[in-house]
């Protein structure tokens, strides 16, 4: 977890994060962006939609000012032209200004003079910028990849323009930790309860625990499938072994069967 994320969590008025995260795969490294749907609902909705449509693929950081911002170019500066569907999805977003301060790691939407003119371009703050507070829409923060941000900040530049292109190779949306936590919690509670419950309750209560484990595993599978290309090697092994353990566990479903007396001969 980044220092910024920790600081935000410690704040009593820390904004609620969306379940979705954006993985910004850049030519310098990966950045994971967390979003504030309650602070800037329209911005978050539009950015998620555009990322899913692939609008951000091929954009680049056209402006880097150490200690201030790294700004992502707008959709006019992509490597490939927009498709009609992508073009149709881009709309001007009205400003959603808040009291959240501009500081390192914050995502701030770029706009023209008109406060309601934001479309696709946004900046990642590289340092505090109090003069932007309340004037530009803050819609999220960098959750992980601050080392990548530091590398972007150090890039060789011509005034503010990087000499070598820092491209967004691919931007994708993935579901964040809520679903994962729910899955882990279901599995943990189900496994533990299935060992404890039979001593306390009817065998059917244990069976219900097994169903909980199955649902939990399925939730984790959903998260894994979405992120399987960027997880460490032990995770797919755990998913695979977990599946076998789950099926073995489910073999005890509604078991042991009650003793049925043999009919008299």
């Amino acid at each position: 977890m980044s220092a910024l994320a920790l600081a935000l969590l410690l704040q009593s008025d820390a904004p609620r994060l969306a379940d979705e995260r954006i993985l910004l795969r850049t030519s310098t490294g990966d950045l994971v962006l967390a979003l504030y749907p309650e602070v800037a609902p329209k911005h978050v909705a539009q950015i998620l939609r555009l990322v899913r449509l692939g609008v951000y693929d091929g954009m680049h950081f056209h402006r880097v000012e150490p200690g201030f911002v790294a700004q992502l170019s707008g959709h006019h500066d992509r490597t490939a032209p927009l498709t009609p569907v992508q073009s149709a999805a881009i709309a001007k977003i009205p400003g959603e200004f808040s009291a959240i301060r501009h500081r390192r790691g914050i995502l701030s939407m770029a706009r023209f003079d008109d406060p309601d003119s934001a479309e696709t371009s946004f900046s990642i703050l590289l340092g505090p910028a109090p003069h932007l507070d309340g004037k530009y829409t803050v819609f999220g923060h960098v959750e992980s990849g601050l080392d990548v941000l530091a590398a972007i900040e150090r890039v060789d530049r011509e005034v503010t323009r990087p000499r070598s292109r820092i491209s967004v190779v691919r931007a994708t949306v993935f579901v964040g930790r809520t679903l994962l936590f729910a899955g882990v919690a279901f599995v943990a509670v189900g496994v533990v309860a299935s060992f404890i419950v039979p001593r306390l309750l009817h065998r059917r209560a244990r069976t219900a625990c097994l169903l909980l484990v199955l649902v939990g595993y399925f939730l984790m599978l959903l998260v894994f499938v979405k992120e399987r290309e960027k997880v460490p090697a032990w995770v797919p092994i755990a998913v695979f072994v977990g599946a076998a353990a789950l099926f073995r566990f489910l073999a005890t479903f509604e078991s042991p069967a009650p003793r049925i007396t043999q009919p008299p001969p």
Binding site: L211, V215, L221, L222, F247, F253, A257, I260
Partner: protein
């Protein structure tokens, strides 16, 4: 009073050896000999015809066993009542999100399916072990389970090396992206357990001074042929579900005949066997057609393309089958364990009266 010694076969040596695995091994050998390993149109058509007559009815037979009596439903209420709702929820969620949830739903079914095949092979091995008087203790069970489930680990691990997806009908099914060494280690484990199983079999033969009937080991060997050498033969793969169902139908058919006879006090006769077999087989044929033909097409009535409806319905039906199959064949239940040791002669002829 001593219990009668169970006979080795459900029907006779020829039928049991053929249905439990001999026919599938013979087909595999034939396909390899004549070098017909491609999944041609003829192979697909043959597989589809066999699915109608054996594979689909075997799913129906499971449901029949659970749902045809109130006593069974009362014994397994979670499986009979709660599980269908859970599976239905999974199917509805998959229809609601064909790109996100459906692939995982199908993936769960596919992973579980391979495991389920192994579970059945183990179960049938244990039935024949009991029939042959081969005591299965912890060490023997380790050999059987390790070798049979080793085929699951090996075949699955080898198929899940990449992260690329593949299409099951119109659903993009993800692969796990396992490191290749997982398959290698699964192979070593499987071979070690296979060697151990051979060792305990030899030990038993020396101790009992008789040959262990090969049918005790046949399900394990068959499982190996299906999942290891047969796994890379596309034409053979098309028939593996059929052979799995064939094993199942032999056992389920014997159970049905015996249970119905006992419950209704029917006298053994050839007429009874023929009539009940036709009735049970016909009902399961219709049941299978409803599960795998009618239901997917019903899904299209809600506007879903058949390429999406079919895999989701198939997954739901099979996941439900895995649950049901897991509870209705527990050997510890004497109501199940006893009829599993019958022979067709018990249903054809009245037993000879014992001489005092």
């Amino acid at each position: 009073m001593t219990a009668a010694k169970p006979r080795l076969y459900f029907v006779n040596a020829f039928v049991d050896y053929a249905l439990i695995g001999g026919a599938s091994i013979a087909l595999f050998a034939t396909l390899m000999l004549v070098n017909r390993t491609e999944r041609t149109t003829e192979v697909i058509q043959a597989g589809a015809i066999l699915a109608w007559f054996i594979n689909w009815p075997h799913f129906s037979a499971t449901n029949w066993r659970l749902y045809h009596s109130k006593a069974n439903i009362a014994q397994y209420p979670v499986t009979a009542i709660a599980v269908p709702f859970l599976v239905l929820a999974g199917a509805v969620a998959s229809f609601g999100s064909p790109a996100r949830i459906a692939p995982c739903f199908v993936k769960l079914f596919l992973l579980w399916s391979s495991y389920h095949f192994c579970g059945q092979s183990l179960g049938i091995s244990l039935i024949y072990a009991r029939r042959a008087g081969f005591q299965v203790g912890r060490l023997e069970r380790l050999g059987f389970s390790g070798f049979i489930f080793g085929t699951f680990f090996l075949s699955t691990a080898r198929g899940e090396v990449t992260t690329s997806s593949w299409k099951y009908y119109a659903v993009e099914v993800p692969r796990l992206g396992l490191p290749p060494w997982v398959g290698d280690w699964a192979c070593y484990g499987m071979l070690a357990c296979g060697a151990w199983l051979a060792l305990v079999a030899v030990r038993w033969m020396i101790a009992n001074r008789r040959i262990l009937p090969p049918i005790v080991l046949l399900p394990a060997v068959t499982q190996f042929v299906w999942f290891v050498p047969g796994n890379s033969v596309a034409s053979f793969n098309e028939f593996v579900p059929f052979f799995h169902s064939l094993q199942y139908m032999l056992v389920a058919w014997s159970m049905q005949l015996k249970e119905k006879m006992d419950e209704n006090g029917i006298a053994p006769s050839g007429h009874y066997v023929l009539a009940e077999s036709a009735r049970w087989g016909g009902a399961n044929f219709v049941g299978g057609a409803i599960l795998f033909y009618v239901l997917p097409y019903a899904g299209t009535l809600f506007g879903f393309p058949i390429g999406v409806a079919e895999p989701i319905i198939i997954s739901a039906v099979q996941i439900h089958h895995f649950f049901v199959d897991g509870v209705i064949w527990k050997l510890r239940n004497p109501r199940v364990g006893s009829p599993l040791l019958v022979n067709i002669d018990d249903m054809l002829r009245a037993p000879a009266k014992a001489v005092a």
